[in-house]
């Protein structure tokens, strides 16, 4: 269903259009917000808030450019994230207290997921027998250094760098596939 039609149908109160809207954007929003918050549970909450905000708007007044629905959803989620960020910065001193009560504790499923991922990453690292390759991964994934910076620091060719990263990605994917 094209976005213009989706917007129009939601405005008319069509519940099926609302389901399609939810299915289309929910998973993407969670991934986007998880990338920003590094917290799956928080990302789920923020995604829900964003979807409800957009749905309410579509039901009530619609939007000016229905063909740009994705952009509207994205902007709304971004504002939700910024709002959460402001709040969490303002309430830093409260966070340890909240955590003590397990307010944001991860679910059993999330904990299993995390444990499984760490197990695969440990296996991936233990298979790497060249110290420099490990350093490349450390600089790239942990310290977020750019490729050009790493290549210069370690006197690597870009091709060499690409091979190490690509091999790590492929191996990790394989481990995930074998483990699922």
């Amino acid at each position: 269903m094209p976005p213009e039609v989706l917007v129009e149908e939601i405005g008319r109160g069509n519940p099926r259009a609302e389901e399609i809207f939810y299915e289309r954007y929910h998973a993407g929003l969670v991934v986007m917000l998880e990338a920003r918050t590094r917290d799956r549970a928080r990302a789920e909450d923020l995604a829900q808030d964003a979807l409800i905000t957009v749905l309410t708007r579509l039901r009530d007044t619609g939007i000016d450019y229905p063909e740009r629905l994705s952009s509207f959803v994205h902007q709304t989620a971004k504002y939700q994230f910024i709002g959460w960020l402001r709040k969490s910065v303002n309430q830093t001193e409260l966070l340890p207290t909240v955590d003590e009560f397990g307010g944001e504790a991860e679910t059993v499923e999330e904990e299993l997921d995390r444990t499984r991922t760490r197990h695969f990453v440990r296996q991936l690292i233990s298979e790497m027998t060249v110290a420099r390759d490990r350093e490349i991964l450390y600089r790239y994934y942990v310290r977020d250094q750019a490729k050009a910076v790493i290549c210069e620091a370690l006197a690597l060719t870009p091709e060499h760098f690409d091979r190490v990263i690509s091999r790590a990605r492929n191996r990790f994917r394989l481990l995930l596939e074998q483990g699922s």
């Binding site: 993407g28 991934v31 994705s70 990453v121 690292i125 977020d144 060499h160 990263i165 990790f172």
Partner: protein, 203 residues
């Protein structure tokens, strides 16, 4: 998924994209399920690496090529005291000695990336030295390709799935080679063969 997009995912997760690029990427992420899956995987990999950062910085267990590398780089090698032992290990790896060498002859180590297009590879070594090569055969593995080094049709080194199962042809240590003409053949699983002429030349 192409390499540019994979790099873009990394740049996105490391917050290296401009605001405009980030918006465009996220809008695509909302509706592209393949991209979404890939980003999820990369988040898991990145988070896992961060959680295991201490392990990343620890000294790796040495594989065969690593052990050889360390041994060849040790000062004892330079003085020739363990030359016999090293040669024995190299012989164990290759099946045959690459060349008889006087015990006092020093080795120099060169890191080389093999040319892809069958060009010659010329290595110069001082007259009184031999060369040990740390070769990168395009980062392939013995599951994907075989690496053979010969001299005058005599096989000196052969690394394939049959005799070196699951070994990376990357930082693989071969030699020592004295001056002469050698041939390196990389036979890929897909049938492609890449021959390289290796010349070890005295300076």
């Amino acid at each position: 998924m192409n390499k540019e997009l994979l790099d873009k995912i990394d740049d996105y997760l490391a917050e290296r994209l401009s605001a405009e690029e980030c918006d465009a990427f996220e809008e695509r992420l909302l509706t592209d399920s393949a991209l979404r899956r890939e980003v999820q995987e990369q988040i898991a990999l990145r988070d896992g690496m961060r959680a295991e950062s201490k392990l990343l910085l620890s000294e790796p267990p040495l594989g065969l090529s690593g052990r050889l590398h360390r041994l060849l780089l040790s000062p004892t090698w330079a003085y020739g005291a363990t030359a016999g032992l090293v040669l024995a290990i190299v012989i164990g790896l290759t099946g045959q000695p690459s060349a008889p060498l006087p015990a006092s002859q020093e080795a120099v180590i060169r890191n080389v990336e093999l040319p892809r297009s069958g060009e010659d590879l010329v290595i110069s070594v001082p007259a009184d030295k031999v060369v040990v090569l740390s070769i990168d055969a395009y980062g392939l593995n013995t599951r994907e390709a075989g690496l053979r080094i010969s001299r005058n049709n005599e096989m000196l080194t052969e690394l394939t799935a049959l005799n070196a199962d699951d070994q990376d042809l990357f930082n693989v240590v071969v030699g020592p080679f004295k001056a002469g003409d050698y041939r390196i053949d990389i036979q890929r699983e897909d049938g492609e063969e890449i021959p390289v002429r290796l010349e070890v030349r005295k300076e």
